[in-house]
């Protein structure tokens, strides 16, 4: 279960329902989290992706959720624990948090990863990347407008230096 206090849900007619604020969690994160639970519960999404997505969960009947192997094995089927919707909803919320972190890590490293792959593969597959490089050169990549060729420390240091510079100018 999640320990996050902002997680609230309601249960009605064997359906568990909760809302997700899409200002915090992207629709893509909701899809990815849902994907991991499709073999455990039925999920339907509704609502407005600009504001709130509603997640509706329904327990899978023991018949539907049992694998072919478990169905053939009577004992395994008898021992199967009933699906705890509340527990799964909690796990779903935790998975949303994981997805959120994945997206943030991915976004903040997107440019540097792209740069690394293109640089690494330049030597690996000359023909393909020569063409790519030609395209990039046409875009005047050497100016490095994104700052992707610099380490974060260089960027940081420069930022501080320029701030100092501005301040001293002001002082004059």
């Amino acid at each position: 279960m999640t320990d996050n206090k902002s997680f609230r849900f309601k249960i009605k007619d064997n359906l568990l329902e909760f809302k997700i604020n899409t200002k915090i969690y992207s629709l893509s994160a909701v899809y990815q989290a849902a994907y991991l639970f499709l073999d455990k519960v039925y999920i339907l999404l509704d609502g407005d992706p600009q504001k709130e997505v509603v997640v509706i969960m329904k327990e899978k009947s023991s018949f539907a959720s049992a694998s072919a192997k478990a169905m053939a094995d009577k004992k395994a089927s008898e021992d199967k624990e009933p699906v705890d919707l509340e527990k799964i909803a909690g796990e779903f919320y935790n998975e949303l948090l994981n997805q959120l972190l994945r997206e943030k890590v991915s976004q903040t490293n997107a440019k540097i990863r792209e740069y690394i792959v293109s640089q690494a593969l330049y030597n690996a597959v000359p023909n393909e990347v020569d063409e790519l490089l030609k395209e990039v050169e046409e875009e005047d990549w050497q100016e490095d407008p994104l700052g992707i060729a610099k380490t974060w420390e260089e960027q940081n240091l420069e930022g501080k230096k320029s701030k100092k510079g501005k301040m001293s100018k002001k002082g004059k």
């Binding site: 999640t2 320990d3 996050n4 902002s6 915090i24 990815q32 994907y35 499709l38 073999d39 694998s67 072919a68 192997k69 935790n94 948090l97 994981n98 997805q99 959120l100 972190l101 994945r102 943030k104 890590v105 991915s106 903040t108 490293n109 540097i112 990863r113 740069y115 690394i116 792959v117 640089q119 690494a120 593969l121 030597n123 690996a124 597959v125 000359p126 060729a149 380490t151 974060w152 420390e153 260089e154 940081n156």
Partner: protein, 493 residues
């Protein structure tokens, strides 16, 4: 457990790209170059918020393995990423030749759907064999491995002999690192053929499905006892190798063996492993059945569910580890393939366990009639009446035409885990491989998401089990030793 506040404080300046999963209480992290780290929840939170003490071992380890950005991060990552993907520019190195589709065995699982022993129309002729060898040497790759597969290659011996001699002769000029492997059931081997293969430095490999009961259940041979024939020749050839290399090479070659895991193997795994050890093998290759060829028709007799196979694999790996604890050096080749990626960040030529896979860019398969396929699995599909993976014919197409085929590009794209839904976020992405031929055979589409994909389910379970085992120092030392030892041996040994 992660919480919103911690995530909002992500220190994007110091945290490099990583994938993660909670595994047995700790967080497992991996990055694009295949490095990994286990962090406790507390350390994981400190890591993502940039609060780890720089002097601590954990911080230093993460920095060294390029999870933390510092001034060397970019340059090192470029170099290591390049190393990991170096194989991309090499061109096909593995060339599988089917000199005949005839076979004298009726194995229950035959992936190659072998033909009748007396049907000589299934043999490769000399002219085609010459063109195949000429094509092989057009690869830009400095390393070339020619592998005879079947059918039973001994049934078309003159063509085997020609290919070996012609390739060795041609290589005097080409000077490539040439390896020749001969995969045979050995049932019609004789001294003369053995000596020819040994004198031409051909590595011999056979099929051995374990103990006599399991082997003969799977490998039906009407003219005799398949197990006894194979074991008899394994011993003879090993003796001959030993004599040939006496005093010359420390790691002289030994006969290699390939096992096909069927339902029968699952229950008999201890006997199977014991047989391999008793015969002096240092390795076994416990890979699962492929859904190709006759294996599809014998489902009730040989097949198992992925869950059953995974249980078997875990039991077998535990048993092998037990043997190692007792001082016996013996390993599973599939585990080693993944461990090389995990511990050494390298990809070896196990081409359907790589991203992108080896189809076309790493290997080519030549059928008896000169038809060329992306890989041996693609050739097996053709035997089932579907030419989906055919690149052309050696009599009609040159090397460039075969390689620049759009099919090659599609397969490469379909087997690339980078950016592919279901793989991109996956903590095991740096280690997992996609086999588009498998996808096509089972799901009728070369693209198949990991969800409900049986091959993925099995691969993921194996990799995860290896990581669970890796958390134990003793196991990690054994695994490291396996990888180091495997580097001095050839495939299948």
């Amino acid at each position: 457990m992660l919480d919103l506040k911690t995530i909002e404080k992500l220190d994007s300046k110091s945290v490099g790209f990583f994938r993660f999963k909670k595994l047995n209480g700790d967080y497992l992290l991996t990055n694009d170059i295949g490095k990994y780290a286990f962090l406790s929840e507390t350390d994981f939170k400190k890591f993502i918020t940039g609060k780890l003490n720089r002097k601590e071992k954990i911080y230093q380890g993460l920095k060294k393995n390029l999870f933390i950005k510092d001034k060397n991060y970019q340059a090192q990552l470029i170099e290591k990423y390049r190393d990991k993907n170096r194989f991309l520019k090499f061109g096909p190195s593995l060339h599988i030749i089917v000199v005949t589709l005839r076979c004298n065995h009726n194995c229950v699982y035959c992936h190659a759907s072998a033909g009748k022993t007396d049907d000589k129309s299934l043999d490769m002729d000399m002219a085609t064999a010459k063109k195949v060898v000429d094509n092989i040497f057009k690869t830009p790759n400095d390393a070339v491995a020619i592998e005879f597969q079947g059918g039973e290659p001994l049934l078309n011996w003159p063509v085997v002999k020609f290919i070996v001699q012609y390739a060795r002769e041609k290589n005097k000029l080409e000077k490539k690192n040439l390896q020749i492997r001969f995969v045979s059931n050995l049932s019609v081997m004789d001294e003369e053929k053995m000596n020819f293969l040994l004198n031409n430095e051909v590595n011999i490999c056979t099929s051995l499905d374990g103990d006599e009961e399991t082997h003969n259940y799977n490998r039906v041979y009407l003219d005799g006892n398949s197990f006894k024939q194979a074991v008899n020749w394994i011993k003879k050839i090993d003796k001959a190798y030993k004599a040939k290399y006496k005093g010359k090479k420390k790691n002289y070659y030994r006969v290699g063996a390939l096992i096909t895991v069927t339902r029968k193997t699952l229950a008999n795994y201890k006997q199977v492993i014991d047989t391999y050890i008793k015969l002096g093998f240092k390795t076994i290759y416990l890979r699962y059945l492929n859904p190709f060829g006759f294996a599809l028709n014998a489902k009730d007799k040989i097949w198992y569910t992925p869950e059953e196979y995974i249980d078997f694999y875990k039991n077998a790996l535990d048993y092998i580890l037990e043997k190692n604890y007792q001082g016996r050096h013996f390993y599973d080749f599939m585990a080693v393939t993944y461990l090389i990626k995990i511990l050494f960040n390298k990809d070896i030529n196990n081409l359907d366990m790589r991203s992108p896979c080896g189809a076309g860019i790493g290997q080519l398969a030549y059928n008896y009639n000169g038809d060329v396929y992306t890989c041996d699995e693609g050739r097996m599909i053709s035997r089932m009446g579907d030419e989906m993976f055919k690149l052309g014919n050696i009599n009609k197409n040159n090397f460039e035409q075969l390689i620049n085929n759009d099919l090659c590009k599609s397969i490469c794209l379909a087997s690339c885990t980078d950016g592919q839904a279901g793989y991109e976020d996956n903590v095991y992405q740096p280690y997992i491989g996609i086999c588009p031929v498998y996808n096509y055979s089972v799901y009728n589409n070369i693209f198949q998401a990991p969800k409900n994909n049986v091959k993925y389910m099995i691969d993921e379970a194996i990799i995860e089990y290896l990581f669970i085992k890796l958390k134990n120092r003793k196991n990690k030392d054994i695994f490291t030793e396996w990888v180091e030892k495997s580097q001095t041996r050839e495939i299948y040994r």
